[in-house]
Symmetry: C2
Subunit: 89 residues, 2 copies
DNA sequence: TTTTTTTACGACACACGTAACAATG
DNA sequence: CATTGTTACGTGTGTCGTAAAAAAA
């Protein structure tokens, strides 16, 4: 089942163009990033990044996912802010 | 940290007006619902439901959360559909 | 007695960080 | 050799369902 951590992880990899750099961003290690991305790819049923020699590049599905993932996390931030401020939709 | 399962759980409780009924909806048991809602309330820092004698009622924060939670889950459904259809944002 | 939520508990699964590996430049 | 992603493993944390409790109608 889809997890928000997977989404945050994917976004970090997409934006930093690297598993190791994403790991630093999220204060964790490469191996955790690796398994999360692989599990995401298993769920999607297709690779999200092309592994090149020394860098990675998002696939077409990766590009699509990124736009939606950003929106979802923005909505969640908005929700959290609304809850503590007691603001109404 | 916020979890999508918590959100689904909260929505089920809100819509069914009961922990037990939510449990049936989600194919689980009351106790799991109870701990998830309590953890959500701990994160929010305030109760989301008023426990009445034989029923529950959402608090003001609960009402606010519900609107946003529904939107978040809708966005996620949209994202999942877009990924398998390769549709662009 | 039935229906509700809460709490305790044991078993299993998952997530995390460490470490080692392979491959590239 | 430095940097990349992958894999294996031990430990801890979490999740799940069962069972029992307490309260109310």
């Amino acid at each position: 089942m889809l997890d928000l951590k997977d989404l945050r992880c994917f976004i970090a990899v997409y934006e930093t163009r690297g598993f190791g750099r994403a790991a630093k961003t999220l204060n964790t290690v490469q191996s955790n990033i690796s398994v999360r991305i692989r599990r995401l790819e298993d769920e999607v049923g297709a690779p999200l990044f092309d592994r090149l020699h020394r860098s990675i590049r998002p696939t077409a599905k990766g590009e699509v996912l990124y736009r939606y993932a950003v929106k979802v996390l923005q909505d969640i931030s908005e929700m959290e802010a609304a809850i503590i401020e007691q603001r109404v939709a």
